[in-house]
Symmetry: C2
């Protein structure tokens, strides 16, 4: 395609008028990338799970609310700290009354766009995840949903906030609505990144090295699993495919993955392929937090999943690409909501 023709096409379509049309290698890479990935939507709301302002407002409060927990300190925000890109920076998280969790806490940013939640996929939606956390002994620790709701009902300010979020319901303070509200909030936690601008046609949004890394990422085979809008999160995959992850890393104890939830031998060592948005700022890595650095993580993935011993320069390029998935956290996502005071 000549540059004149390309320019004419852009003008005719009326899109990207301010952007120079990418040419040559850049155009080919962009075309390839667009076939594999997609830019973030403004939010992850759906007809079934709408992000109404009232639900999001309530869900944001509940996300930070530690008085629902039996130990009075756990909350979504305890492991998903806004200032740490909604992670806790730990190898494995610490749960209710200080008990260790079996896996690493992934970020909740953009997570609503994954096809299931949790590494084993035992939660279908962010709504289900949030609701069931209420009665998880390692999370909120309540003996029942009723017990959890009694804690919320003891705080006067929530009755009105639930009523506003779920109008027309006689008793809106329910565990299901808790899940719907927290889920609505989480569906707004989108962090557009330089890679989105690239996908929208601005190839200069990625540095030369990041573009080389993207090419490497695709050609090495990473994008075979880490594709789609959140660069992963769309399938299960065995960890590892080519050689045993456990032998390669010495990770212990051995985690049987999805098998723990399904008890189906075919699910042994299957994990949800995690999304890679914000990966550069959300270490340590893997379900077991065994990789402290992104370089380690990329090398392990190449080896056990793809049978590739990546050279340091290839790893550096891939990391440059992965850094282009780091979004900006707007002040609105960093701001804690004011919580209703205790009864007085």
């Amino acid at each position: 395609m000549t540059r004149h023709l390309a320019a004419a096409l852009v003008a005719a379509i009326g899109l990207c008028a301010a952007l120079p049309a990418p040419a040559g290698d850049d155009a080919a890479l962009l075309e390839q990338a667009r076939a594999l990935f997609a830019p973030l939507p403004a939010d992850a709301g759906t007809a079934q799970y709408p992000v109404t302002p009232e639900r999001v407002r309530l869900g944001r409060m509940l996300f930070f609310e530690s008085r629902i927990a039996t130990d009075g300190i756990m909350s979504c925000a305890a492991c998903h700290k806004p200032g740490m890109y909604f992670t806790d920076g730990l190898v494995k998280s610490i749960g209710n009354t200080g008990r260790p969790l079996p896996r690493n806490a992934p970020t909740v940013l953009n997570t609503a766009l994954q096809f299931v939640q949790h590494y084993g996929g035992n939660r279908k939606t962010v709504e289900e995840q949030a609701q069931r956390a209420l009665v998880s002994s390692l999370a909120y620790g309540n003996a029942s949903y009723d017990a959890a709701m009694d804690r919320l009902k003891a705080i006067p300010g929530y009755a009105q906030a639930f009523a506003a979020a779920f109008p027309g319901q006689a008793q809106p303070v329910t565990a299901e609505n808790f899940g719907l509200a927290v889920g609505a909030y989480e569906r707004t936690l989108m962090t557009p990144a330089p890679f989105d601008r690239f996908l929208q046609g601005d190839t200069s949004a990625l540095s030369t090295q990041a573009r080389a890394g993207l090419k490497q990422f695709i050609e090495t085979g990473c994008a075979g699993c880490h594709g789609g809008v959140v660069v992963g999160g769309q399938m299960y995959q065995k960890f590892g495919v080519v050689e045993p992850y456990w032998a390669a890393t010495g990770s212990a104890p051995i985690d049987a993955g999805r098998y723990l939830d399904t008890k189906d031998a075919a699910d042994t060592f299957l994990f949800k392929v995690p999304q890679l948005r914000n990966v550069a700022v959300t270490g340590p890595y893997f379900h077991d937090g065994s990789a402290a650095t992104l370089a380690q993580a990329v090398k392990v993935m190449g080896r056990v999943q793809l049978g590739r011993k990546l050279a340091d320069a290839e790893v550096a390029d891939i990391i440059a690409f992965l850094e282009s998935l780091t979004g900006t956290l707007p002040a609105s996502l960093l701001e804690a909501p004011l919580l209703p005071p205790n009864a007085r």
Copy 2:
């Protein structure tokens, strides 16, 4: 004073031009209040403890930083949550690795203006409090200041932030500078409230009931200890003066107060009189969190400190006044800072 004369005086002094001069009872109450209390300053910075933007920026990051703690979850913000007016809403707080703390976590809002820190007054300044928390087994849990600083030095982003906050120092990442930075941040945590507008001359900033409560607060004798800019926090006092607090409330175990720090028998049951700013939204109350509601707290104080059995209507008036001490939390105080990522 005639109203004409009062108006002439206001005009002559050139102050409060937009405010009608309070007259009669309001003027007398305002005069009385101004003798006992003072409006909040813009910040609590001093020549020795300046609130430079660089120190405040670093201190705000450190306040939220859980990677300094041996359990990876404690931080200043763990017990002093912005969305809960910098408290945790618990009777007594939960410390490092889930261990219980002996006392209730007070708010850190406006706390730099108290004459000492902690209920027993064993920390002179917010700077000392923050620094020593690094090696408290119940707080950050580090074996030494060096061990704490090693944790900070492992996070690449802090070197630059310390250098900017403490220019000209060869090794600025020190425990002392940690305290100075966190203290500088805390010295900015001021929450002006309707009562400040009242003290500045706008008597309508307090409702009729709140003004009646202020009068009651003064006449009952509360202001004898709870005076000054943060309505308390300027002296020690025995708890209780008239009858034993422990017998009156059944609180257990008995807390010997400042004696625990000084081992001086004269300090038995002495506690720092806590400030009352934001008291209406920072329950439960007292060093032991024994009072769930403000009404309970006011009644207990009247009884054991002043020998007064306050009537319900008197308590309601006092609470209306105490509610006028609730400041607005600006978005800037609710926003978590973005923390530097782990080394990668």
